[in-house]
C-alpha cells in the first residue's frame, strides 16, 4: 500500500515538475517563429543581406572594378513602425559581403571615426605606442540602406508592407551606381476578444 502511494506521489511530482519547467529550444533563424506578427524577422534580415550582397557583387561598379573598391557602410535608416536595431541589418550585409567577395572589396569604418581620430592623435602625440602611421582610407562608395513601410490597421487586422532599399553611391560624383530593393508583406489577425 505504502509503495503504491509513493509511486502515485512520484508520478504526480514528475508531472508537476514537467508542468513547471520553462521551455526553450533552438530554432532555425531562416524560418518563421511561432510568435508570428507582421514585423521584421530574423528570416527577413538574413534573406535581405544575402540577396543584396549577391546582387551587389555582380554590379558592374564592383565586378568590373580595376582596383579594389573601398566601401563605407553607413547606418541603415529605419522609417518603419518597427523598433529594430538596424545595425543588425548593416552588419549582416557587411559580413555576407566579406564572405562572398573575399578580398575583392575593402570596407572602411565610418561609424567610429571619433574614436579613430582620438587614437591617432594620441599616437602622434606620443601618449600611446604606435606601429606606424597610415592615412585614413578614403571611400570610393557609400553603401546606404533605408527601411520603409506602409502599415494599416483595423480593430481586427493589421498589415505591414516593408521595403528594404539599398544603394551604392559614388563618393566623388554622387552617382548612384547600384540600387536594389526587397519587399515583404505580412498580415495578422487579432483574436476575437481583442477586436
Amino acid at each position: 500500500m505504502v509503495k503504491k502511494v509513493a509511486a502515485v506521489l512520484a508520478v504526480l511530482a514528475a508531472v508537476m515538475a514537467a508542468g513547471c519547467a520553462s521551455k526553450s529550444a533552438y530554432v532555425n533563424p531562416d524560418e518563421p517563429d511561432v510568435l508570428g506578427g507582421t514585423g521584421i524577422d530574423s528570416q527577413d534580415v538574413r534573406t535581405v543581406a544575402q540577396v543584396m550582397s549577391r546582387d551587389l557583387l555582380s554590379a558592374p561598379a564592383i565586378a568590373q572594378a580595376t582596383g579594389k573598391p573601398v566601401i563605407a557602410l553607413l547606418p541603415t535608416k529605419n522609417e518603419t513602425r518597427f523598433r529594430v536595431d538596424t545595425d543588425i541589418i548593416t552588419e549582416q550585409l557587411r559580413n555576407d559581403l566579406i564572405q562572398f567577395a573575399g578580398d575583392k572589396i575593402t570596407f572602411v569604418e565610418r561609424r567610429r571615426m571619433g574614436n579613430i581620430k582620438e587614437e591617432r592623435a594620441a599616437k602622434r602625440a606620443g601618449e600611446v605606442t604606435s606601429s606606424g602611421e597610415k592615412m585614413i582610407s578614403g571611400a570610393n562608395y557609400f553603401l546606404t540602406g533605408t527601411l520603409k513601410s506602409i502599415s494599416k490597421a483595423s480593430g481586427k487586422m493589421r498589415s505591414d508592407y516593408i521595403y528594404y532599399s539599398f544603394e551604392l553611391t559614388d563618393a566623388e560624383s554622387t552617382e548612384i551606381v547600384w540600387a536594389k530593393g526587397y519587399d515583404v508583406k505580412k498580415v495578422a489577425e487579432r483574436g476575437v476578444v481583442y477586436q
Partner: protein
C-alpha cells in the same frame, strides 16, 4: 436530494469565490506620491498576475519616469509595448467562456498608443532618433487601430513628436508633413464650435424669408442638433458638417414629428424643411471652406509651429492631471465606461532661473482619446453573456420554485430541481462583466512648450496653477544640443540632454 443540494451550493460558492477578481493596486500610492510603496506593489503584482504583466510594466514605466529614471522607464515601456503589440495572446478562450479580465492585458488603443508614445519620447530623450521614429509611427497606428474608420489616428502629440524625430534625422520634408498633420487635428469640442459658428453665421446671411419661416427654423434646429452626431463621425469640420446634414435628412425621412413643435409634419412640410437644410448646409460649408482658404491651417498651428522650430533647444512636455479610468455599468457590469478624474491643476508655467518662459499649451487630451475608442466585438459577446446570465437566473429560479410545488409528483419535483440547479449553476458560471483594467497612471492631457535657453546649467521650475510645483536643479543646456524635459503635474519628471544632437 440533500446531497445534490449541498453539492450545488458548494459549486455555487466556489464559483462565487472565483468571481471575486482582485483589481490591480498601487494606483492610490502612486497618486499620493508614495512611489516606493507603489513600486513594491507593481513588482509583486507583476509576478502574481501574469495576465496583467503589460499593465504593471506600463505603470512601472510611468513611475520610473516620474522618479527621473529615463533608462529604467525605457526598459519597462520596451517590454510593455512588446506584449501589447504582439497579436499572440494568453487566455483568449478563458475570456470568451469566463471573465473577460482573464485574458492577457494588451490595453485599449489609447493605452497602446501612450505606451508607444512614451517609449518614443524616451528614445528621443536618449538621442536614439532612429528608434524614436518607429515608436511614434507604431503609436499612430495603435491610435487608429479601431474597427471604425471614423476613429482614425488623431493624436496630435504623436504627430508632433514624429515630426521632431524626422527633423532630428535630417528629413525636413517629412517632418513638415507630420507637423502639418499635428496642426490639423481637431478636438471634438473645437469641431462642434466651428460648425456651430459657421451655421449661425450662415443663417444670418440668408434672406429674411429663408430664415424666418417655420420650416427654416426647424431646419436650423435639426441641423444644429445633429452637429454632435456628425462630429463623432468625422473630426474634420467640413466632413462633420456633411455628416450632420445627412443625419438631418435621415431624421426627416423618419418623419420625426416632435421637431415640428408638437404639430404634424406633413410630406410637404418635410420637403420644405429639407430644402432649408440643404440651403443652410451649403452656406455653412462655404464659410468653412472660406476659413480654410484664408489660411486656417488648424487649431493647433501656433503651438505646433513653435514646437517645430529647430532653433528652440528646450522642449518641455508636461503630463497634466490624472488619467482616464474604466468602470462597469449594466446589470451585470457588462459595459466598460471611461471615467475622468478631477484634479486641481489648470496649467503649467515654466521658469528658467526664476524667469518665466511661458505657459505650456495643451496639445492632446488622453481622456478624449480614451472615450472615442469606438465599439468592440467583445462588447457584443459580453452583452450576449449578460442576456444568457439573466435568462438562466430567471429560468433557474422558476424551476426551483416548481421543485417546491406540492401538487407535482416527487419525480417531477426532482426533475425541476435538477433543471433549476443546472440553470443557476450556468448563470453563476457566466461572467459577463467587462474588463476594466486600465492604465490609470497616465496623465489626463499633454501640454507642450519649446523655448530657447542659453547654454549652461540652469534651474528649471514648473509651476502648476491650482497645484504645486516641481524644481529640476542643474538642468544642462549645450550648444547645438536639445534638452528635453518631461514633467508630471502630480509630482516628478525627468530631463535629458543627449550627446547625440539633432541634425
Amino acid at each position: 436530494m440533500r446531497k445534490a443540494f449541498a453539492g450545488c451550493l458548494a459549486a455555487a460558492l466556489l464559483l462565487a469565490c472565483g468571481c471575486a477578481a482582485q483589481r490591480p493596486g498601487g494606483v492610490r500610492q502612486f497618486y499620493d506620491g508614495d512611489y516606493a510603496s507603489a513600486k513594491a506593489i507593481y513588482l509583486s503584482d507583476l509576478e502574481a498576475e501574469k495576465e496583467s504583466r503589460a499593465l504593471f510594466l506600463a505603470r512601472l514605466g510611468t513611475l520610473e519616469l516620474a522618479e527621473g529614471n529615463v533608462q529604467e522607464a525605457r526598459r519597462y515601456f520596451e517590454e510593455a509595448t512588446g506584449i501589447m503589440e504582439n497579436f499572440k495572446a494568453e487566455g483568449e478562450y478563458k475570456a470568451l467562456v469566463g471573465s473577460e479580465s482573464s485574458k492577457e492585458y494588451k490595453g485599449d488603443p489609447y493605452e497602446q498608443m501612450m505606451a508607444l508614445w512614451y517609449l518614443g519620447l524616451l528614445d528621443y530623450m536618449s538621442g536614439d532618433f532612429n528608434k524614436a521614429l518607429p515608436s511614434f509611427k507604431a503609436a499612430a497606428l495603435a491610435d487608429g487601430g479601431t474597427t471604425d474608420e471614423r476613429y482614425r489616428a488623431d493624436c496630435a502629440a504623436v504627430f508632433l513628436m514624429m515630426g521632431k524625430a524626422y527633423q532630428a534625422m535630417g528629413d525636413d520634408a517629412k517632418a513638415a508633413d507630420e507637423f502639418k498633420a499635428a496642426a490639423g487635428v481637431y478636438t471634438f469640442q473645437e469641431t462642434v464650435a466651428r460648425i456651430s459658428d459657421a451655421l449661425a453665421s450662415a443663417r444670418q446671411e440668408l434672406p429674411p424669408a429663408a430664415r424666418e419661416s417655420k420650416a427654416a427654423e426647424v431646419a436650423y434646429e435639426l441641423l444644429a442638433d445633429e452637429i454632435s452626431a456628425g462630429t463623432t463621425q468625422f473630426q474634420d469640420p467640413e466632413a462633420a458638417l456633411a455628416a450632420a446634414r445627412d443625419f438631418a435628412f435621415d431624421e426627416l425621412a423618419k418623419g420625426k414629428k416632435s421637431r415640428w413643435h408638437g404639430g404634424e409634419l406633413t410630406g410637404k412640410d418635410a420637403d420644405a424643411v429639407a430644402g432649408h437644410v440643404k440651403e443652410l448646409y451649403e452656406a455653412a460649408a462655404r464659410r468653412l471652406e472660406g476659413q480654410m482658404a484664408a489660411g486656417d491651417v488648424g487649431p493647433l498651428a501656433a503651438i505646433v509651429s513653435n514646437f517645430a522650430d529647430p532653433s528652440k533647444n528646450f522642449l518641455a512636455i508636461v503630463g497634466m492631471g490624472k488619467g482616464p479610468f474604466k468602470y462597469r455599468v449594466g446589470e451585470y457590469g457588462q459595459l466598460a465606461k471611461i471615467g475622468r478624474s478631477a484634479y486641481p491643476e489648470k496649467y503649467a508655467e515654466i521658469c528658467v532661473d526664476g524667469q518665466k518662459v511661458a505657459r505650456a499649451d495643451t496639445i492632446d487630451s488622453i481622456y478624449y482619446q480614451a472615450s472615442t475608442r469606438g465599439g468592440r466585438v467583445m462588447d457584443g459577446i459580453l452583452a450576449g453573456k449578460a442576456v444568457f446570465k439573466g435568462a438562466t437566473e430567471i429560468g433557474g429560479a422558476v424551476a426551483l420554485a416548481e421543485a417546491a410545488n406540492p401538487h407535482l409528483s416527487r419525480k417531477e419535483r426532482r426533475g425541476a430541481f435538477i433543471v433549476g440547479a443546472a440553470l443557476l449553476a450556468a448563470s453563476l458560471a457566466t461572467r459577463p462583466e467587462a474588463d476594466v483594467r486600465s492604465w490609470e497612471t497616465l496623465p489626463d492631457r499633454i501640454d507642450v512648450l519649446a523655448a530657447k535657453v542659453a547654454p549652461g546649467t540652469h534651474r528649471v521650475e514648473v509651476n502648476y496653477t491650482g497645484g504645486g510645483h516641481k524644481v529640476f536643479e542643474n538642468v544642462e543646456f549645450k550648444e547645438g544640443h536639445q534638452t528635453v524635459l518631461y514633467a508630471w503635474s502630480q509630482d516628478g519628471g525627468a530631463w535629458a540632454c543627449p550627446e547625440v544632437s539633432p541634425r
